[in-house]
């Protein structure tokens, strides 16, 4: 590993930015191969396809350009990645600029999900910055004929005594320096950080966002751009048999009516099919689409009824198809227990509903298709488009715009392929715009989940834990006919952290009649809801304080090695040395939340508190909710969110993510539900699929725990899981009503 190549001079001269110092950093696991690439448009991608990098470019103009390979969807990643690079570089913040990377394997994974941008690239980016700093310092040493040790980079310049040269002045000479081996790099200590961990770094995209200049997927403009609105089959797989193209074409501005390719299984990221209306402007396309009156052939999913399906899942709980964790003898322990306690929970299907519905533009020229898309994963977009047209991924050029929210929806590339298809058919640049109705009806939904937890009890000790689940899973979009969950059990089910001798986690079937996909924190939502509610129920049953009981169940401070606990645990792709499953930190997070919320102190009549904690994406988040009755109903008045995500790069954005996660969690607990009748989604717009609004938003207090861990955990997702259980536990505390099926609104509770 860590073999370092010198940047070849020739490559320098053929590169696009001839006067810049360009550096690449690689994924820690792959090795460190700097590349000359600022060449965002390079026609000659580097020979090593796997070289995954984030790039840094320092121009003669003294600008430090950070090439951001991850998608910005509100998590602040463009700014945060730049903070890491600029810090190790000792740049001046005012000289930092961002360049958004095209899709390309050379960057390593660009799949912006799994709360992995900082976690996955923190070290590599620091090394990229430190490498550049080293080379700039050596360039200055050469210029001044001094020992490199005497030349120090600070605030965008290298200094030695009175002497000073800006990075820009040194860029050319720095590019000729020997690239240091990793062992020659001195990474900064935490105390030396200027930007990492700084609370006061503003968002680099703020001014664009606040003046309306920021370009999202839906904002892309091209000469001669046509706009398409697609009428998709209301039931998955239905084909159009008849439609009134003529009526649509009569709408002024409508250019053409184009039938989309048929959907085949597995659905993956293919377009759903249907009929597109392409027009000179969005309004004409929308209006034309309403004139189509498409009649659809029957589909095998026509009878899908989510209500009946949810009931059917009850029966599936006992059809143990997969065993996810097995330790000891649960069956016998349950049979012989002095007491058992069983509860069932249900979380319905949910929609992502990013504020910007999916949107993508495409144009073909000379066998190359160029895309502009609000995508969370430009590499998956390349692949999906290449697969559809049987071309090479290198023939698909993907520009990533800002995303008006993603939450996992924009990891799925169906809308991108639609744009490519329509542009090819029309031989003209086309932008596909999804309406809100499209977004809610044709989502890759968060899969509904029925769960049952049973315990054998000896006093207040749990001697056996059985967790059963039934529901459809994400694999169904990649494998035809796949039934039930699979890897989802890694997210809160297998990794149940309580010290229990006998554990059994199983799942039953769950056929898919719609598309399912990952939504912010994925299966953690359902698992944390079930476990977080169950612990609270059990605590009340045993007349224990729920917070204390959580601590009791978590047991002694220890690292859990799940391989000794009857399961293989994926730990979000991290090894257990860097990211141990540390029970002490879970407890610590929980304690802090209880502490700042004043848990246990007397509350006024009509108020009650609920608590929950959950580890996901290698971070711990605890939530306390305060519920208050108002007339017949309850509302959540206040929420405390505490995170231990290890090392934090951008604390203000971490707080923002916690605020957002609290609202996302309350939103889904109150209102989140997508239902289907006759195969058709029943929620059309924000009146049917309600999201939390300002007047319903509780006060939110956030707190961050810093235990001195040098490595960062995930941030975007782990805030969501503990919210819904804390909310329901608080509602129980104040009303005595237990909500085991979300959403609360349907139960008449909020």
């Amino acid at each position: 590993m860590s073999q370092v190549k010198c940047i070849s001079r020739r490559r320098w001269l053929t590169g696009v930015a001839k006067t810049s110092l360009l550096l690449g950093a690689t994924l820690p696991a792959v090795g460190y191969v700097p590349r000359v690439l600022g060449a965002e448009d390079t026609e000659n991608p580097p020979e090593q396809e796997f070289t995954p990098s984030v790039y840094l470019e320092i121009g003669r103009d003294n600008r430090v350009r950070v090439i951001c390979h991850r998608s910005e969807m509100g998590q602040g990643i463009r700014t945060s990645l730049a903070m890491v690079v600029a810090d190790e570089l000792n740049a001046d913040w005012s000289q930092v600029e961002l360049v958004q990377a095209l899709g390309g394997k050379r960057y390593g994974s660009q799949n912006t999900d799994g709360s992995n941008s900082i976690r996955g690239f923190y070290t590599a980016l620091r090394e990229a910055g430190a490498t550049a700093r080293h080379m700039l310092e050596h360039a200055a040493a050469q210029r001044w004929q001094l020992e490199p040790d005497l030349c120090r980079a600070a605030n965008g310049a290298v200094k030695a005594g009175e002497r000073s040269l800006s990075f820009g002045e040194l860029a050319e000479l720095a590019a000729t320096q020997k690239v240091p081996d990793k062992s020659q790099l001195t990474l900064k200590t935490k105390k030396e950080f200027n930007f990492i961990g700084n609370h006061e770094i503003g968002n680099l995209d703020a001014v664009d966002m606040l003046t309306g200049r920021a370009v999202y997927g839906i904002d892309v403009e091209q000469a001669d751009l046509a706009i398409a609105v697609v009428v998709r089959p209301p039931t998955m797989g239905a084909k159009p048999v008849k439609y009134d193209a003529k009526d649509a074409l009569k709408v002024p501005g409508v250019i053409q009516v184009i039938e989309m390719p048929e959907l085949s299984y597995p659905v993956r990221f293919q377009p759903l099919g249907g009929v597109a209306v392409v027009a000179e402007n969005t309004w004409a396309a929308m209006k034309g689409s309403r004139q189509l009156n498409v009649q659809w052939a029957a589909s095998e999913h026509d009878s899908f009824d989510s209500q009946q399906y949810a009931e059917k899942l009850e029966g599936y709980l006992t059809k143990e198809m997969l065993t996810h964790r097995e330790k000891g003898d649960v069956k016998t322990t349950l049979e012989q227990a002095e007491a058992t306690f069983t509860r069932r929970y249900y979380v319905p299907s949910l929609a992502h509903a990013p504020m910007e519905p999916p949107a993508a533009s495409a144009v073909w020229h000379h066998g190359i298709v160029e895309i502009w898309a609000a995508t969370q994963n430009p590499q998956a977009a390349q692949k999906a488009v290449a697969d559809q047209f049987a071309i090479d991924e290198t023939q698909v050029k993907v520009n990533v715009t800002l995303l008006g929210g993603g939450f996992g929806r924009k990891s799925k590339q169906d809308f991108v392929v639609e744009a490519a298809y329509l542009s090819k058919s029309l031989k003209r640049p086309v932008k596909v715009v999804w309406t809100r109705e499209d977004d809610l009806q044709f989502d890759y939904y968060h899969a509904c989940s029925r769960q049952e937890i049973s315990c054998a009890l000896e006093g207040k000790n749990i001697t056996a834990w059985r967790h059963r689940e039934a529901g459809p899973g994400i694999q169904s979009i990649f494998k035809s006919g796949f039934s039930g969950i699979q890897f989802e059990s890694n997210m809160g089910m297998r990794d149940m952290p309580f010290a229990v001798d006998n554990v059994l986690c199983t799942s039953g079937p769950g056929e898919a009649h719609v598309r399912y996909g990952w939504l912010r924190s994925v299966a953690n939502i359902g698992h944390a809801f079930a476990i977080g509610s169950y612990v609270d129920e059990l605590a009340h049953e045993l007349k224990q304080d729920p917070f204390q009981y959580w601590l009791d169940l978590l047991g002694s401070d220890r690292y859990i090695d799940f391989s000794q606990q009857g399961t293989k645990y994926f730990n979000y792709g991290e090894n257990s040395k860097d990211y141990p499953f540390d029970v002490a930190r879970i407890k610590n997070t929980l304690r802090r939340a209880a502490d700042i919320a004043g848990w246990g102190e007397p509350l006024p009549a009509g108020q009650g508190m609920g608590i929950s904690v959950h580890r996901s994406f290698c971070s711990n988040v605890a939530c306390v909710a305060l519920a208050e009755t108002s007339g017949e109903r309850v509302r959540i008045k206040k929420i405390w969110m505490v995170i231990d995500a290890g090392m934090l790069v951008n604390p203000d954005r971490v707080r923002a993510q916690l605020e957002g996660a609290a609202i996302f969690g309350v939103s889904l607990a109150y209102y989140g539900e997508i239902t289907h009748k006759n195969g058709v989604a029943q929620q059309q717009n924000f009146d049917g699929y309600r999201l939390l609004r300002m007047n319903e938003t509780p006060e939110i207090i956030t707190d961050i725990i810093d235990v001195g861990d040098p490595l960062p955990g995930g941030v975007g997702e782990p805030g969501v899981p503990p919210v819904a259980p804390a909310v329901c536990n608080a509602i129980f505390a104040v009303t005595g009503k237990r909500c085991r099926e979300l959403p609360l609104h349907k139960q008449g509770l909020v």
Binding site: Q75, A284, P354, M355, N685, M694, T697
Partner: protein, 154 residues
């Protein structure tokens, strides 16, 4: 032909007058700061000012606009120097930013009518604007900050 002002400039339009102002702004006038979120007046992403009042441009057909004056987010300032933009920036309100032009246009209209809004006033005005990222707590703070900034300026 319909003639109306957008950010002080006169636009004349001869096309389909059933077109909502939102799509006129975005597709015809190329002012893309005003966003599409629902098309049904449910989310506020498309909020602009019509003669100083906050309106949802997605449900406002161009035909009613003859002689009227429209202000969009682009009309607030070029450099984010408007007090509402400064407050938004100071408190790092935006996450994805997509809803924020609508949020700011609602907030500006609120502050024009009410120099020192209470929490309840803010809730009343702002609850038509959805933010999926969950920036409401900061929006609330930023409106109060903007109110202070505006008072200082005057």
């Amino acid at each position: 032909m319909i003639k109306f002002q957008v950010n002080g400039e006169t636009h004349s339009y001869r096309g389909d007058t059933s077109m909502p102002l939102l799509w006129f702004l975005r597709d015809i006038a190329d002012l893309k700061g005003t966003k599409f979120g629902c098309g049904k007046g449910l989310c506020g992403a498309c909020t602009v000012h019509l003669n100083g009042q906050a309106v949802r441009s997605c449900v406002l057909p161009v035909q009613v606009l003859d002689g009227q004056s429209v202000t969009t987010v682009e009309g607030l300032s070029d450099d984010a120097g408007h007090s509402i933009q400064r407050a938004w920036q100071t408190l790092n309100v935006a996450q994805c930013g997509y809803c924020q032009s609508g949020q700011m246009m609602s907030a500006v209209a609120l502050l024009q009518a009410n120099k020192a809004p209470s929490d309840e006033d803010i809730n009343n005005m702002m609850s038509g604007n959805i933010c999926r990222c969950g920036t409401y707590p900061r929006i609330k703070k930023a409106i109060k900050l903007a109110a202070d900034l505006a008072i200082k300026v005057n």
